[in-house]
């Protein structure tokens, strides 16, 4: 193996890593916001933003930051869900019982199309 071969391998590795970084961080996760079991909002976790939805006790402010989601503000006695902090796993839903709001992260399967 001469120097050129080594260089070639390095270049390919480099390209792969760049590509991996470019395409893999484009995760396609969404969070669904439910009010009494009805989906009221679909939130793209790739976009940092704040959203306000109506809960049972009033406005619930949801924040998305770095692919994670949390309830920033809500009105309740114990503030359990706003104290829960950021969540990024589909196994860990945010549940605001007093406000009847549930936030679940759903991995977007590779779907070609949807039938309504």
């Amino acid at each position: 193996m001469n120097k050129k071969d080594l260089l070639l391998i390095l270049v390919i590795l480099f390209v792969c890593i760049i590509m991996f970084l470019l395409f893999s961080n484009k995760s396609s996760d969404y969070a669904y916001v439910y009010y009494e079991n009805k989906v009221i909002k679909k939130i793209d976790l790739n976009i940092d933003n704040e959203y306000t939805v109506s809960g049972y006790n009033g406005d619930v402010v949801i924040e998305v930051l770095n692919n994670k989601i949390r309830v920033k503000e809500e009105k309740s006695n114990n503030n359990i869900c706003s104290n829960m902090g950021f969540v990024s796993s589909s196994l860990e839903p945010i549940i605001c019982l007093p406000n009847k709001i549930v936030i679940k992260i759903v991995e977007d399967y590779k779907i070609d199309t949807v039938i309504r």
């Binding site: 390919i12 009805k38 779907i111 070609d112 949807v114 039938i115 309504r116």
Partner: protein, 325 residues
């Protein structure tokens, strides 16, 4: 070094590019239609678009029940202009669509009935106003919904007792099938056609299967099942898209020809079979049958599978559904 640059570019092109497809959107037959064609040659693009557009626009006009097209003996003409007991020559293409519907009547023991126009109009009147339901009186005075009042002799159409045609239960599937045939005729075998509740896919664009998500009737955006398949049609019938609520009861648009009321056996049923028109007919049929009877029907038919979303929020699958998991 040159070699490396070439390799670098090749790698970029082959490894990282998304599968190339062209996408056409059209609005016909009251539906937004999305067509993806994979590896469509640039020079074919216009030709393919025009061919598809022509098919949809011709059949849209022929099957239209609400609009008069001058010089076209379409469904509107047959229902509202043609006099009782009179005959008229119709376009061969429309004659074929009607003939398909007449066959469907026997295939579905009378559940899919293209002569239902009069009762559908009655319900539509109430659905549009959102208030009330048809009275006994109105049902009694209803004009014919008998398929035997429609006589089709090749391309000569005759009607009796003011019967009204409605091809809505399968026209979309019928035309989807024609579009798919056209694409294959032009050498394009990898495609995906989605017109609302109606999906048809060809060969896969790589070595895989199309993933067709079926939406939960109770929740927008949420997919409750994914059908993995190639060269097949998936068609959903359900009462959750077009309905109105009166006295706390939901009344949707799929009417049982026997009871003359909307059926309520399931919230939705999806049929998987190769032919899109057939899938369309069967999805309406199964929606009008109790789930157990529907499962029995599908299980005795090798070329058809189906899944139901029950009123109890349970999902019911036909015996051979496994192959689409």
């Amino acid at each position: 070094m040159k070699k490396i640059i070439v390799l670098f570019i090749l790698l970029l092109i082959t490894g990282c590019s998304n599968k190339d497809y062209n996408q056409f959107n059209m609005f016909f037959m009251d539906t937004y239609i999305n067509i993806k064609i994979y590896d469509l040659k640039f020079e074919d693009k216009d030709k393919v678009y025009n061919e598809i557009y022509d098919i949809y626009s011709v059949y849209d006009a022929l099957c239209d029940r609400y609009t008069d097209y001058i010089g076209v003996n379409n469904v509107y003409y047959l229902n509202n202009v043609l006099e009782d007991g009179q005959s008229v020559v119709i376009d061969d293409r429309l004659a074929e669509v009607i003939a398909y519907g007449l066959d469907a009547y026997y295939l579905t023991s009378g559940k899919v009935n293209i002569a239902m126009g009069n009762v559908l109009d009655l319900w539509k009147k109430y659905r549009d106003s959102g208030e009330g339901i048809p009275s006994e009186e109105e049902f009694k005075n209803l004009k014919s919904i008998s398929i035997f009042d429609i006589i089709l002799n090749d391309n000569v159409y005759t009607k009796y007792n003011n019967v009204k045609l409605d091809l809505g239960s399968y026209a979309k599937g019928y035309v989807t099938e024609l579009v798919a045939d056209k694409l294959e005729e032009m050498g394009y075998y990898s495609y995906l056609i989605n017109s609302g509740g109606n999906v048809k896919v060809g060969n896969h664009y790589s070595d895989d299967k199309y993933k067709i998500g079926i939406e939960n009737p109770n929740e927008d955006y949420l997919v409750y099942k994914i059908v993995s398949a190639n060269n097949t049609s998936v068609v959903t019938s359900g009462g959750y898209k077009r309905y109105y609520i009166y006295d706390d009861v939901k009344y949707h648009h799929i009417i049982d020809p026997v009871t003359l009321y909307p059926s309520n056996f399931s919230l939705g049923v999806s049929v998987i079979t190769e032919n899109s028109a057939y899938a369309d007919i069967l999805s309406t049929y199964l929606f009008l049958l109790p789930i157990e009877e529907g499962i029995y029907f599908v299980n005795s038919n090798d070329l058809v599978e189906a899944l139901w979303y029950g009123i109890d929020d349970k999902v019911y699958l036909s015996e051979g559904y496994d192959k689409y998991e």
